[in-house]
């Protein structure tokens, strides 16, 4: 028999995974999704307690959680759009100048691996101008 405690444990684990994602990831969209996942963990708690006590108060709470999550989504996505226009990046660390005074800035020491694209020398992909631009002599010879 699945008891209340099973649901509470699963909800705690879901909340924890969301918390880890929110603390470690730097893409603002992923951070936002992780925060939503933490909301879901709390919602499971409320619904499980509603079932346990045999009344609907917990489900009403979850309705309010959904309303607040919708507000948060609207504000957060508008904020991302504005920050992206200013910083040209979704990286939350772009805005680390907002940090507390006296805290050293986080510096990325390790370089990112840059994928080197090997382009076909003979065939240019459609729509892209070939790198080798014919000189006037060559053009005249054709």
């Amino acid at each position: 028999m699945i008891t209340l405690w099973h649901y509470l444990a699963v909800a705690a684990a879901l909340f924890g995974i969301g918390l880890v994602g929110f603390l470690t990831r730097r893409n603002m969209i992923t951070m936002f999704l992780c925060a939503e996942m933490m909301f879901q963990g709390v919602a499971i708690n409320f619904v499980a307690f509603a079932r346990y006590h045999g009344n609907l108060q917990g489900q009403v709470f979850v309705l309010f959680i959904i309303a607040v999550a919708a507000c948060e989504a609207g504000i957060a996505l508008a904020l991302f759009l504005m920050l992206y226009r200013r910083g040209k990046s979704l990286d939350a660390s772009t805005w680390q100048s907002l940090r507390e005074t006296g805290v050293p800035p986080a510096v990325d020491t390790e370089p990112l691996e840059i994928e080197v694209k090997v382009e076909d020398e003979h065939l240019a992909p459609a729509g892209v101008r070939p790198k080798h631009i014919p000189t006037e002599e060559e053009a005249a010879r054709v």
Binding site: M1, H6, L23, R25, R26, I29, A48, R51, C71
Partner: protein, 390 residues
């Protein structure tokens, strides 16, 4: 010192700590890093953490499983939620993360359905379907195509972040263990088991059946009370029938004339050691308190109705008229049906949610509406481009 002579509490704490450490290692390996992440050991550690977590759940709260389908569905949905949640956290590509989040939402909705919340399931799916599509749009619009980038391929302190998150989860789980019955509760846990079911058990199935049977019998016997007077030939039979019902209700709610406690009160309330001593409830939650109050009410109604009926039949001087007695029995019947249904969620989920929302939480509904309005205005104000060409 014997290392294996651990108390159940130490054993449980050890299991939780092991699961937390494995999960920290898993996410430490899996979170994106510029030097490349180590996928195989990370996934192995996460699976091991999940295994230890399930073993701990089973050894602490697990019981023989009479409800196979419910258990299987619960496992399916919770594994789905936790698994896709891990994918969302560890995924480099935010678009794939959004898809994983959609599956987290679907799994959570399955859990809602198992918990008898169909309206919340529908509402969550509808609202989050929109939210996920908008998120998708943002990912497509804002992320740079191709090549590693700072925001996707770097993590902020992966090891410390996982440590913070899973230390928190470990503490929550340990407090769950403590609240579940305490460290030394082999016998106490057994007695608690019945109260831990979903929904919490205030009435046993036997008591519920007894009450409903009494209601049914009341309905059939009541026809004999038609008219203003019971024919004298029938009086004995009617009195016997009603005495039977009186006793049947009395076994559940107790009876003052027979001076005994009903089964509900002995289960929910401590029996007073000395006469006149105040009763102290064994269970102090709101539901048990309501049930105790209703039980005492029904006991009083039952006694009164039966006394009035006997007086009427015996042609006592102080007798009440038959319609009055019938009205008393009607009231008793309604209260019995209400008591028998305690602890069950109403079948009309949406209607009752709406009723509670607008009867008990009207101010909160208004505030939530205002909040949504303010959020809309705020979103427009934030996102508008200053000095943009119209």
């Amino acid at each position: 010192m014997n290392l294996f002579a651990l108390t159940p509490m130490q054993e449980s704490a050890g299991q939780i700590a092991l699961a937390a450490v494995l999960a920290i290692a898993g996410f430490g390996f899996l979170l994106p890093q510029p030097r490349g992440r180590r996928v195989a050991p990370g996934i192995a550690a996460l699976i091991a953490a999940a295994g230890v977590f399930v073993a701990w759940l089973y050894s602490t709260f697990g019981q023989p499983m009479p409800d196979i389908i419910g258990t299987v569905l619960f496992c399916f949905f919770s594994v789905g939620a936790l698994g896709f949640g891990s994918v969302l956290v560890a995924q480099v590509n935010p678009g794939r993360g959004a898809i994983a989040f959609a599956f987290v939402i679907l799994s959570t909705c399955g859990l809602f359905l198992l918990l008898a919340a169909p309206f919340l399931m529908a509402a969550t799916i509808i609202i989050y379907a929109g939210a996920i599509i908008v998120t998708f749009l943002f990912v497509l619009m804002l992320s740079h195509a191709g090549g590693p980038s700072d925001e996707n391929n770097r993590s902020r302190e992966p090891w410390l972040g996982s440590l913070a998150g899973f230390a928190f989860v470990g503490l929550v789980l340990f407090s769950l263990y403590l609240s579940h019955g305490g460290p030394d509760s082999a016998s106490a846990a057994e007695s608690l088991k019945t109260t831990q079911r979903l929904p919490a058990q205030v009435l046993t199935a036997d008591e519920r059946n007894t009450l409903l049977a009494a209601v049914e019998k009341l309905d059939t016997v009541e026809t004999q009370l038609a008219g203003d007077n019971v024919p004298s030939a029938n009086k004995n039979r009617v009195a016997e029938d009603f005495e039977g019902i009186h006793d049947q209700i009395g076994t559940v709610v107790g009876s003052t004339t027979l001076s005994r406690d009903g089964s509900v009160l002995t289960r929910l309330e401590k029996v007073p050691m000395r006469p006149g001593e105040k009763l102290s409830p064994l269970r102090t939650d709101q539901q048990a308190k309501t049930v105790i109050r209703d039980t005492l009410e029904i006991r009083k109604l039952n006694e009164e109705a039966f006394k009035d009926l006997s007086n009427n039949l015996l042609d006592d001087k102080t007798k009440k008229s038959l319609p009055t007695v019938k009205a008393e029995y009607h009231k008793l019947r309604e209260e019995l049906v209400l008591l028998a249904g305690v602890g069950q969620l109403p079948a009309r989920n949406v209607g009752n949610l709406g009723y509670i929302l607008y009867a008990d939480h009207l101010l909160a509904v208004e505030l939530a509406g205002t909040l949504l309005l303010v959020a809309t205005i705020g979103a427009i104000a934030i996102a508008q481009r200053k000095g943009a060409v119209a």
